[in-house]
Symmetry: D3
Subunit: 136 residues, 6 copies
């Protein structure tokens, strides 16, 4: 069993806001992130898959295929987008780093041929990241 | 003469748009950056000042003071903001990396005691940055 | 269950020395680290907490609160300090990267509301780090 | 139990090729990596060992000794070498990142005094790495 | 006048060898780099152009166009190639970091619309790079 | 003319203190750096030399020789040392990043065969560095 990790990047806008709360409550809980004009980040995504190494190719996963899946399922949907306004899973869910990691897991799980999705790591900033290993 | 550089960071949203153009023209020139919902970045700012080293303190510039100036003049104004919508210099100027570097120069020039502003560098992404050395 | 990691930094002096040994024995085991004048490092701390994502806020932990805890419990105590001379847990314990990771765990464990401390990682240099997951 | 990680680097040439296949099949599966003239990388190796912290020294492992083992068992053999042509384990095995991680595990396992080899991580590029935790 | 820098990467094999010298002389001068099987690196290229900012677009240079030029003139020619064996400028010139910087300058100079090539920087390793500013 | 830069690292302790001042004045000017127990950093040194590329070797400078000079003149003297207490140039000069850059220039200038020392850059932290280009 070997674990292979590939990085990808996307640059997106977002804000934190709970419609059920007053503006004051949003400010108190979310601070500067509650600015409805939005702000943004260069997100770094690390996707780890695991499996047996194919003895003929030496691959756990076809890297070109993995890159294409990340591009199609995540980067094309999130990059240069406003997460709250344009990405359906954040219409009613706050796009925190934690929730972005869970959402990317759901986008990728079951779509990687010959390997198992093991971990999704999302960096919002170089000094802050979230890891998700699936529902269990 | 010695050159001292200090980094700071801000996370902002922006888009590229020219009101004088049709949406098609904006799309053609600005591509995915023309999305009016905005996207965003973790910007890294490097400010270089130069001057003589004070023989008593060993400083070109008081670092605490420099940090406070960057915080007050730039970070507090740009961080967690939408550059087009909330920062006055980008109301009618496209917030490209080049223009952000020039704008930060204008915010800082003449405000650093005992040292001369030498260069403003702005990274929009780790693989793209602009340098500005002043008007001349 | 999601894992959230936040980084912090501190710059400290230290040396390696065992009072029960001769200077020669200290030199043999600790090499250049046995210099009693001390040397120092920019340490990077990565603290990982885990828990359920709060469905309302999208947070495992309040980031501002986590940052304040790291600042109060670790950075304020270690930063710009001599670990052997000024930090009580290293009065009689060699401040190796391993022991610093354990000491930071003990400072943080039980102090993070709503989340469980999962891992403490300490980098002494970019090419050397220690991970501690608790006593068990 | 604590985990200590040390990095090392080596710069090597390699190519991907399966002698049992036609050139066309090699091109189809391995793409640009199938160029028999070779290409190369700056590999980064992260070796993690685990064990109890020695209460006297504060070490899980003697760092100088660990560095010497990595140098002797891996860096001296791989650095400034063509992996396919000069490193025996890749004479008949494709030197993918996955296979390099497994090969380095086999070179190191059982050779680190007082500590257990826990993980071998190999970066081929900053955005691609493989982890191996041993045969089980 | 503003300076804009864009990075690109290529992974290549190379060796250092002077046909006019004996193998012993090559070994003495070039050390481990004289291994004729080749070794390799992940090179990082930073290309800096300068010019006036277009007041309408906010661009010194069209970034998409610059990226395409770097891709076509450099990356497609050098990446996943053996520099000595497959890149014409290194058939009789040692592909040192210095010479690679000069060669990339010659490939790019005069090909960037609306801006002037200012500097070519090539990293062979994170701790070694060469800068070239043109012939003058 | 080409510019070649090589990095090196050293880990040292230091403090900022002016004997002519009261403790209160030292605290006011130097803040936490005035702690006489010392603190420390992982310093990164970037040394840039310039010259003509030797047409036979492709070198501005022999890299092995440059590395040995940095090691002998700087790293061996500063690394794992207390700058104030053990390095003569800081006996009466505050070891600020600016002064360290100037001191390293003086240690290296005139000692690099076949090339001219162009710039000494010293990082005290990843977000703070000083550049020195010589006395003129």
């Amino acid at each position: 069993m070997i674990y292979l990790t590939r990085k990808a990047e996307f640059s997106s806008a977002h804000y934190y806001w709970n419609e059920a709360w007053s503006p004051e409550e949003n400010d108190r809980v979310f601070g500067r992130c509650a600015n409805r004009n939005g702000h943004g980040h260069n997100y770094t995504l690390e996707v780890t898959v695991c499996g047996e190494v194919d003895p003929v190719t030496g691959f756990v996963v076809d890297l070109k295929e993995l890159k294409d899946i990340l591009e199609r399922e995540v980067v094309r949907v999130y990059d240069h987008r406003h997460l709250n306004l344009e990405v359906p899973e954040f219409a009613a869910t706050v796009p925190t780093t934690e929730n972005i990691a869970v959402a990317i897991w759901r986008r990728l799980d079951g779509r990687i041929p010959h390997a198992k999705l093991y971990r999704v790591r999302v960096y919002e900033m170089p000094d802050l990241f979230a890891d998700y290993y699936g529902e269990a």
